[in-house]
Symmetry: C2
Subunit: 703 residues, 2 copies
């Protein structure tokens, strides 16, 4: 028996802090449990004794008889700890601490919360909450409404877990109001012990949960989230709303990669890595959950439509096409079949436009053709309810076709069910057949887009990263004996050595401290060259006038060196770096930044204005698979430049992906590296021509 | 009396083709008129006579007595013409032709439609439809439900006009289901005579119409649309859904500007010019209409919030900030006031987060503070309905504050009104106070964003275009005697002359047909130079290897000329063009393309990859105001480059705007120009340094 069975399938429940006063939490929970017919005994506990809702009240949890797995605790915060000791003594397995007054009120509450966590650790009893609503499980074998809200519980296939009580209520009520069945529900407030990922894992094991809805305000433990949620999301859709991106104080961000990472990037890369679908609209999330609850995931992105009103179907088509979905023409067979069956006025394009007078039978034929058409992975049936049409016949046709099909089927019913009982019945029957009925035409398009998004995430073959030959020990040695500046930045020569040990191709370079050395270096490298100034205080060389490109001969070098020396007169410890001029096709930036608790986030983008002005960059959470690096190259808006455009050649994509993989590995294997920027990487179309020209590396400060 | 008064405020109505059979159009219209208590007489007409719904049936429209302004005609398509003749003879002012079988069925129907339009023109009687629903007017002095649908009509302030019957029904039912009052409604199908812009103009004159909702599938007459709708949209919000962007056949598009103009661009620029808000989501459009119906347009983009549940308010904040709205902190005064009034646990940030137990009185104080706070232009009150709170007191507080405020106030109520009558009453009271209640938190944010969009559109001061000194006559002369190629393109020298007469700064250039001429030209212009090949068949010079840049001396010129001549050996009539090498800061593209029936659409963008790869361009409909050209420069994503970024200087913005204004004027004053591309314009930061380097101009083919 899974540990959380005691929470979601308890044999019996005690409510400590039960109350006879209506509209108190200690009363509502008992009434909810009784109203929904909980399968086991419910025992109120209150030192005053007496009777609540017809049940005898026990004076102590220690007096409660029988197999009681779960207890609610609704007592003053300062009494919770002693109550928990009693619960543990009584052999309770899980306690839902509804009481508030813990971490959410500040340091004093946090201390009390720490105390109750210690009790749990010591006794092995698990805690849910504190400062929380509770749980529900609509499984008819349990009928558990262990929660104090008013939201309706109808059996179904959506399971919800929410950190914020308010958002949880919005989700819960939406499903209740729209007759959408839920399976399990949990809102665990401060989540001091039983965690959200643990609950998602439990939902993952439940066959009747077809889709999981998640509301998060923060990641308590990103590593746990990744480990527990990714395997679930690979099997069934997990839809998340993450809100509350609190400003992370005034963290000094000095690298490009760090500066471009917005607060939300961490959430995005983590959810992407898990295969969780993120939403910013709660309404869209709820509608998509509805569809996943009863409809299969489409096998592709082709959508067929049938309608008795042209204009709304055009809206669906517009939205689908904008979202990158396909609205293919009917197959030859479908056309022939419908030509014979439908009225001659019907348009046999996609959408099939059947005129307002179309009968249920005609809807049936059209659906039969679309659901049987190999070009269609999903089908939308769109209808108004003209008063001269038997709309129940349309409902029957949809029911019948839905029964015989394993394709995704959605409905749009543009009607006011309050106006005619027959119309309400039409909608209710279609919904009851598992075909979700939307009101606005664009909703169907949005839902299909997100279903397809899930399919693509689930089906991405995560090809492993290539095996890389690196000198990990060498890099560790360099880092261990390195000389970081006050901000943690390493001197350029050490950075270059670290990168070389990981096989990251650096441009050849030569350093000098004076003009004589420079002359020698130039003769060694060969003109044309690039001259750069290096100093601990010189982070953005170009801005400071510390870079001179395309120096053709010794005279020009001399002039450039003198100019630069004059400009940087105030800077201490300047050294001179010479590199060969590269004939690069494209400037690239590759970077990485370690997000606390999450891990290294790797960035790829085009350099210059693409990164400076257009912020056209892509982030992924390390470790990176081969699929990840391909998606990164495909993810920039200016990707056409990588492949070559209008006569300009593209660049060596394999070389770029190799560099990204090596950066990912370097960050994974060396937790003391905080940030890394390779900027620019000069990408070339010639094999072996792609080189890192400049790099900055910062160690974690508390090294 | 306005002409359309006979349609929306008729003194009496005849229904020709009335029927006693329930669920026929000729029956529904009579029942709807009676059910809603139309203010005047309703007379059924049918050759069979008898009685319908208790009313005597006249055998002919000619027999109908009294002041009858409006007639419905619901007879077979081939009988409509003769019926209309009778209506005209009877003195009917407007006829709603519900019958179908006209333009929508093909050429035969179109011919019949033409016939009835001729009757209207000849007799002065106006036609609405054919193939249409009808109209409504909820003004209690009229109570006109001259329409065959079932949608509920409740008096209010939204007026709707829709081309597509299906979408009209969706809009109509949404308002009906959500108790949102409508003012007038019209769905005019084929719109053979009375047009949509004419109806919008009528709504514009109606003080009780606060917002106009529009569904369009095509612009019958863009000029009429602009002339009639723009003045209305300057006074009250017009919200449009335009769907059905039909592919415009296979038009050969040879210019950049034409190629970048998507089918939807015409709609976008036209609606933008009119000040109409375009939507792609019907649901969003309906919700925004709701808010405009009863709430004032916010005076700025600062939003204050108060909530009794933290997590949903965070969603509103996230969405507002993402959309560019402001969520400013409370003023000192507001904080002091609330510090004294609210419980100490309340957070006095924005949103004001009051804990679930907050009373109606506390909501009242918070609203008072927010509505009185000078930083807030709009306020959102967000609440759950905890069972231990008197939610009606919250409703009363909102009512009271709404009465005393002229700021925009929206509500988010996260509750299921079916669960408790008190909650339904709470929502109903807030709605009745004119404060629209939304369910999903993000809806309030979206609605405020669009209200702010309207404010910005309405308030943009359309500063007139500068007066330009141009030689219009000179340009007309050059065009009249020009030598267009088979595609309508003019020879480069003629293009340059036309542009010069409009004061568009061309780079100095010199042409030659052989090496001797080239040598002379080079000495005249001075090195470095650019060499280009010109020929009628050479549209994309660079791709064909017909451009050589940065030629430093006579030797290099000779070599470049020989190379190019070799490459273009197969091209006929090649001539050579020399220009000085420009030291340009940025490559720009300016273009224009004439959209049939709409006018010249002017394009601005950055050249190179910005236009080729990123499609970062902005379109506006000519004539352009000074505000338009400023918005165009601000409208490109890479605008930072225009202003200068990271040490690179910006460019002379005034020079660019001047060129765009001149292009606009050239297109306006010369309707025979179909397309124009200035590509590249070399923009400089030096006064007088910005020059057009290459240009192409195509005349309308049927010149």
């Amino acid at each position: 028996m899974a540990q959380l069975d005691a929470l979601f399938r308890p044999r019996g429940i005690a409510v400590v802090g039960a109350s006879a006063r209506p509209l108190t939490i200690g009363n509502r929970i008992i009434r909810n449990l009784l109203r929904y017919g909980f399968s086991g005994p419910v025992h109120p506990v209150n030192p005053r004794g007496g009777e609540i809702a017809g049940l005898p009240v026990f004076r102590s949890i220690l007096d409660v008889p029988g197999d009681i797995d779960l207890a609610h605790v609704i007592v003053r915060a300062d009494l919770v700890a002693s109550t928990l000791e009693d619960c543990a003594a009584r052999g309770i397995k899980v306690v839902i601490v509804n009481s508030s007054g813990f971490k959410e009120i500040g340091p004093r509450g946090a201390e009390m919360e720490q105390r109750i966590v210690e009790i749990a650790r010591r006794t092995g009893m698990r805690l849910f909450g504190p400062n929380c609503q509770g749980v529900m499980n609509s499984d008819p074998r349990v009928n558990l409404y262990s929660n104090f809200t008013f939201a309706k519980m109808t059996p179904g296939h959506v399971s919800v877990v929410a950190q914020g009580g308010g958002v949880a209520e919005v989700i819960n009520n939406y499903f209740g109001m729209n007759g959408i069945g839920q399976r399990m529900y949990a809102s665990n407030g401060n989540a001091c012990d039983i965690s959200i990922p643990e609950i998602i894992e439990y939902y993952g094991e439940d066959d009747e949960t077809h889709v999981i809805v998640l509301h998060l305000e923060s990641f308590a433990d990103p590593g746990e989230f990744l480990a527990r949620v990714a395997p679930v999301a690979a099997r069934k859709p997990v839809l998340a709303l993450k809100s509350g991106t609190t400003p992370e104080g005034a963290r000094a961000v000095s690298s490009h990669t760090g500066g471009l990472m917005e607060q939300d990037t961490t959430t995005d890369v983590l959810l992407d890595k898990c295969g969780v679908l993120r939403f910013s609209s709660l309404s869209e999330l709820c509608q998509v959950a509805r569809a996943f609850a009863t409809q299969p995931v489409p096998a592709g992105n082709g959508v067929g439509m049938v309608t008795n009103a042209g204009s709304p179907a055009i809206i669906v088509t517009d939205e689908l096409v904008k979202a990158g979905m396909k609205v293919p023409p009917l197959s030859r067979e479908s056309r022939d079949f419908l030509q014979e069956k439908l009225q001659s006025m019907a348009s046999l394009a996609n959408p099939i436009d059947m005129m307002a007078t179309a009968s249920g039978q005609e809807f049936g034929w059209s659906l039969e053709a679309l659901l049987g058409d190999p070009c269609m992975d999903a089908v939308v049936v769109c209808f108004m309810t003209p008063f001269f049409v038997d709309t129940l016949a349309i409902a029957r046709a949809i029911e019948e076709q839905a029964r015989n099909s394993n394709k995704t089927l959605l409905a749009v019913a543009m009607t006011n069910p309050d106006e005619k009982p027959e119309w309400r019945e039409t909608i209710d029957r279609v919904n009851a057949a598992g075909v979700p009925v939307f009101y606005f035409p664009e909703s169907a398009a949005q839902v299909l887009f997100h279903m397809d998004r899930f399919r693509r995430l689930r089906d991405r073959r995560n090809e492993p990263a290539p095996r890389l030959d690196v000198d990990a020990q060498g890099a560790r040695g360099i880092i261990a004996s390195s000389h970081p500046g006050p901000d943690g930045f390493l001197p350029p020569a050490e950075v270059a050595d670290i990168l070389r040990s990981y096989g990251i191709p650096m441009v050849s370079e030569s350093r000098a401290s004076d003009w004589n050395g420079l002359q020698r270096a130039a003769l060694e490298i060969g003109f044309p060259v690039v001259l750069k100034a290096e100093a601990a205080d010189l982070l953005h060389k170009t801005d400071a006038g510390g870079v001179a490109l395309g120096i053709a001969d010794m005279d020009q070098l001399k002039e450039a060196h003198q100019d630069m020396a004059r400009r940087l007169r105030g800077v201490e410890g300047v050294r001179w770096l010479l590199q060969p001029s590269l004939e690069a096709t494209l400037e690239i930036i590759v970077g990485a930044s370690r997000s606390p608790g999450v891990g290294p986030i790797v960035m790829f983008g085009l350099g210059g204005i693409h990164v400076e002005v257009l912020k056209d960059v892509v982030f992924k959470l390390a470790p990176l698979s081969a699929t990840d690096t391909r998606e990164m190259l495909d993810g920039v808006k200016a990707r056409a430049l990588l492949h070559g455009v209008r006569g300009k050649p593209g660049v060596d994509l394999a070389a770029l992906r190799d560099i990204i993989h090596r950066v990912s590995l370097l960050m994974e294997e060396n937790p003391s590296i905080q940030e890394l920027d390779l900027n620019p990487v000069m990408a070339s179309n010639k094999p072996g021509g792609t080189k890192v020209v400049d790099a900055r590396l910062r160690l974690v400060r508390e090294k």
